[in-house]
């Protein structure tokens, strides 16, 4: 950890000078923050800040000036009040797995990292809720519930590292969204520090609370409504049994038609994940699961519920797959086999690392029945740019994740990734969908907002944001396209005591 007394060599000259003098705004900001959290919970060394210059979205980068690690709501509130006093912008960060640049501190400022606030405060099975701190890793909550017959349903593929606070901010989904819903369906209430430092509670542990559903409005705010410091989440019964299958298809369109048909038959599988040929080959190369390399697509299908109900559902699914030219269906008969099948899905991203130095995961959505069209379009885009694009995604929700493979060191390729992404997402909109199903707008997709929504829509959203965050001091320039004047202000205000670049 940094000790300002002997580790200031990487700091910029004006800051260093200030710190040596022990006066000036930057220096007193650090002093005051140190008083709240202690030296060990503060970073401002340029080298160490590099870690925080981006999240899972690596295309844009911008380092914060200071990173703090609070351990309590009161500390968060005091930090925020000090930022207000110094007029320095700030933003929250969980595990930094955001894929849309939600953690990018535009113009610098203070980053409040919540990973030390990771306690479970209460588990109440009778009333089916848990109260957790925001830095709790998603999977750790479900692990803590093992054996109780309950779990926390939202399970993003990043659940081993992402935090509940980050999930709430982005309204995360996951493979089980199709049946169990996204994060907002599982948040009963929360505590948050508003951008002025005040502490509020919204909703509560009861199934319903009177008044406006503000916790519902809060979920998915992408960090722009203040900092969530506590969450009351709904717990879900574990299903009694699962049936997990891998259906191997010759072509993508057979697979997507089967998906549509399964759901139209009144079966809501708990997961319906698709992997295309590119990803199958990558997974196979890396892990040797035994997938046929020439298959057009593989569907991971899982149904869950009461044991007595499942065989009939499986029979119907097999019939539907057969009528769509399925090549083979592998069934998991033991928990070990089920785990193996899921492993292939969960390690897909790891396998991609072997294919190319960098990759960009897109997050478009189309109505389920338009999947064949968007997948064809993605293939055509891949050919057009001569860029490899592989697909692994939550097919049951129509949420596609084309993964664009590129080399970050090549500027031309970065430009091509941006253009190809733009084309794919525009096509999603044209097909009646959206540009983000679960990763959020962040900074990445901010330009799309004025294409999806008109000025009135955006101005209503702005009114709502301004109730929480009137001065836009918290997570500025995210979600809503900024007004030009604000952009300038952010650059000026974020570096107290330093001059704005001209």
């Amino acid at each position: 950890m940094v000790d300002p007394a002997n580790q200031t060599s990487h700091l910029s000259a004006p800051v260093l000078e200030e710190l040596e003098r022990g006066s000036g705004p930057f220096s007193s900001l650090i002093q005051q923050l140190t008083q709240i959290v202690g030296k060990k919970a503060l970073l401002y060394d340029a080298d160490e800040l590099l870690v925080y210059e981006c999240d899972g979205y690596i295309v844009d980068k911008s380092a914060p000036d200071i990173v703090v690690f609070p351990t309590s709501t009161e500390q968060v509130s005091s930090i925020v009040k000090i930022c207000n006093q110094f007029n320095v912008p700030f933003l929250a960060r969980g595990a930094g797995t955001s894929l849309s640049g939600g953690c990018l501190p535009i113009g610098g400022g203070v980053m409040i990292v919540l990973t030390r606030m990771k306690q479970i405060l209460e588990i109440n099975l009778r009333d089916r809720y848990a109260v957790v701190e925001p830095g709790m890793v998603n999977l750790h909550l479900t692990n803590a519930l093992k054996g109780t017959g309950y779990h926390y349903a939202p399970d993003p593929s990043s659940q081993g590292s992402c935090t509940i606070g980050g999930n709430i901010a982005t309204n995360s989904g996951g493979p089980h969204t199709l049946k169990y819903g996204v994060t907002t369906n599982h948040v009963l209430g929360l505590e948050a520090v508003l951008p002025d430092g005040s502490i509020i509670n919204l909703g509560g542990p009861t199934a319903e609370t009177p008044g406006y559903d503000l916790h519902g409005v809060y979920v998915g705010n992408e960090g722009t409504f203040g900092i969530c410091t506590k969450a009351i989440v709904r717990l879900t019964r574990d299903p009694e049994a699962h049936r997990t299958m891998l259906a191997v298809f010759h072509t993508i369109s057979d697979a997507t038609r089967a998906i549509s048909e399964i759901i139209a038959a009144g079966i809501i599988p708990s997961a319906l994940e698709m992997m295309d040929q590119g990803i199958i080959q990558a997974i196979e190369e890396a892990f040797h699961f035994g997938f046929p390399l020439d298959a057009g697509a593989v569907l991971l299908i899982e149904v869950d519920g009461l044991d007595i109900a499942l065989d009939e559902e499986v029979r119907q699914i097999v019939d539907i797959c057969n009528s769509h030219n399925v090549r083979e269906i592998q069934r998991a008969d033991t928990p070990e086999e089920r785990q193996l099948i899921w492993k292939s899905r969960k390690q897909a991203f790891g396998a991609i690392g072997r294919l190319s130095p960098s990759y960009c995961t897109q997050d478009g959505v189309v109505p389920r029945t338009r999947l064949p069209e968007i997948l064809e379009f993605i293939e055509a885009t891949s050919e057009k740019y001569g860029m490899r694009i592989v697909n692994v995604f939550h097919a049951g929700d129509g949420n596609v994740h084309p993964i664009l493979l590129f080399d970050e060191r090549d500027q031309d390729q970065i430009q091509q990734v941006l253009e190809a992404s733009e084309e794919i997402l525009s096509k999603c909109l044209e097909l009646g969908g959206s540009v983000t199903g679960e990763h959020g707008i962040g900074v990445e997709k901010i330009n799309f907002m004025s294409r999806i929504f008109n000025e009135t829509d955006l101005s209503q959203m702005e009114k709502v944001r301004n109730i929480f965050n009137p001065r836009q001091i918290c997570s500025r320039d995210k979600v809503l396209p900024p007004h030009q004047t604000d952009l300038q202000a952010s650059v000026t205000q974020s570096h107290p005591g330093r001059r704005a670049p001209h």
Binding site: D127, V182, G216, N399, S434, E438, S459
Partner: protein, 416 residues
């Protein structure tokens, strides 16, 4: 003018969203009339003094299907569509919106969203907030805006749909909604149990947490409510004790297995009697549970939102006070109808005081749902203010700065 009467000359009946928007915009710049959005008028007097001057904006002409891509299991409709009409359309495709709505032949989807109506099925299917994927509405100044979209998964922008669910028409007039649908189950059965005490009901309800079955709904009624439900449904229920009625839906084989299984599991709580109800009888009884919460001419109807673990002690007090109680028991949502003997404001306040002493103010709320019209000014809507109240007030101010939308209802909210 009385809100509950219809067809007055000053009613405005928009035929399209732009027309609604134009009307509200003109009103905001010139007439400054109070605007009262109305759907099916099934409960306009709820929580509200029922006579004001102003304009009723009737949504009855905005009742079209905008888009129904059947295989995507989503539907977009105008907000004035009646629930029965909606159900009929989607039911023909083997689908449904699994939200229970009283008087569904009249209630509109806009009204259901504005009032956050829900019934027994909320235990397994959630509430209307879980089904609204996109929404359009017009604010007090006439701004037509939307959020969300028509796909089941979408996180572009803030979720203004959540803001409008339960907003009682005080923030904007909901004009169009996109909804997620679910498959219609093959069959439904109910199993009722009669218990002699609140304590044994509580034990049985606790066992739901680990039951091998997955109920769709868990309803409770005390003997006074049971009598009214029997009168309504003409299905025999025990009327001297406490009744818990469990509902199962799904494939017939699975439903039947569960009904037997719960009887087995609950044997140890010594129910006085048990019965399985199937077919049209089950549908009739279920319907009576859905209607019961609202169809009342009792002096006051209460709604309590409690933790399930604290619910039975509240119900015990309420039963002692001669209040008829129905509860969505596994969710802790309780409806209570006060007895006719509560004939003065003083009586009602006394009853409220006794009821609220049992409620933990951090985890429970009591609200006045409906009351005699001349009491509604004096009775608090919420017996304790909800969390985030100041932000709610600011939200109203931001969306309806001139306080034109349903402001008497909002003023009622503000008082407490």
């Amino acid at each position: 003018m009385t809100l509950t009467h219809s067809g007055t000359p000053e009613d405005f009946v928009p035929a399209s969203q732009p027309e609604l928007s134009r009307f509200l915009s003109e009103n905001a710049t010139s007439a400054h009339q109070q605007i009262f959005p109305v759907g099916g008028r099934t409960s306009l007097s709820v929580c509200c003094p029922d006579s004001h001057s102003g304009t009723l904006v009737c949504m009855s002409q905005l009742h079209r299907v905008v888009d129904y891509p059947v295989r995507d299991m989503t539907i977009t409709v105008e907000a004035g569509m009646r629930l029965d009409q909606l159900n009929e359309i989607v039911s023909a495709e083997g689908q449904r919106l699994p939200i229970d709505v009283p008087q569904s032949n009249r209630a509109t989807i806009g009204g259901v969203i504005a009032t956050n109506t829900s019934g027994p099925r909320r235990f397994s299917y959630g509430t209307i907030r879980d089904y609204v994927i996109g929404i359009s509405a017009v604010d007090g100044a006439g701004n037509l805006f939307k959020s969300g979209g028509r796909v089941v998964k979408n996180v572009a922008g803030y979720d203004l749909g959540k803001m409008l669910v339960g907003s009682l028409g005080t923030l904007a007039v909901i004009s169009q909604v996109s909804l997620n649908l679910r498959p219609k189950p093959e069959c439904m059965q109910l199993v009722w149990f009669e218990f002699s005490s609140c304590e044994s009901v509580d034990q049985a309800l606790e066992a739901i947490v680990t039951s091998g079955t997955r109920p769709t709904a868990v309803e409770y009624c005390n003997s006074k409510a049971a009598r009214q439900i029997v009168a309504e449904s003409r299905i025999e229920l025990p009327m001297e004790n406490h009744v818990v009625c469990i509902c199962y839906e799904g494939p017939e084989k699975v439903v039947k297995w569960q009904a037997q299984q719960i009887i087995e599991e609950w044997r140890s709580f010594s129910p006085l009697s048990v019965q399985i109800i199937e077919g049209t009888h089950a549908a009739r009884l279920y319907h009576a549970f859905v209607e019961y919460q609202t169809s009342s001419d009792d002096p006051v109807t209460l709604k309590a939102m409690l933790l399930p673990s604290q619910m039975m002690s509240f119900i015990e007090t309420a039963t002692r006070l001669n209040i008829a109680i129905q509860a969505h028991a596994a969710d802790g949502i309780v409806y209570g109808h006060l007895p006719d003997s509560a004939s003065s404001l003083e009586d009602v306040n006394q009853i409220l005081e006794q009821l609220t002493t049992g409620i933990d103010s951090r985890t429970g709320y009591l609200t006045i749902y409906q009351c005699e019209s001349d009491w509604s000014e004096s009775l608090p809507l919420f017996c304790s203010p909800p969390a985030g109240w100041e932000l709610m007030r600011q939200l109203k101010q931001a969306l309806d700065p001139q306080q034109l939308l349903n402001s008497p209802r909002f003023a009622k909210l503000v008082k407490h």
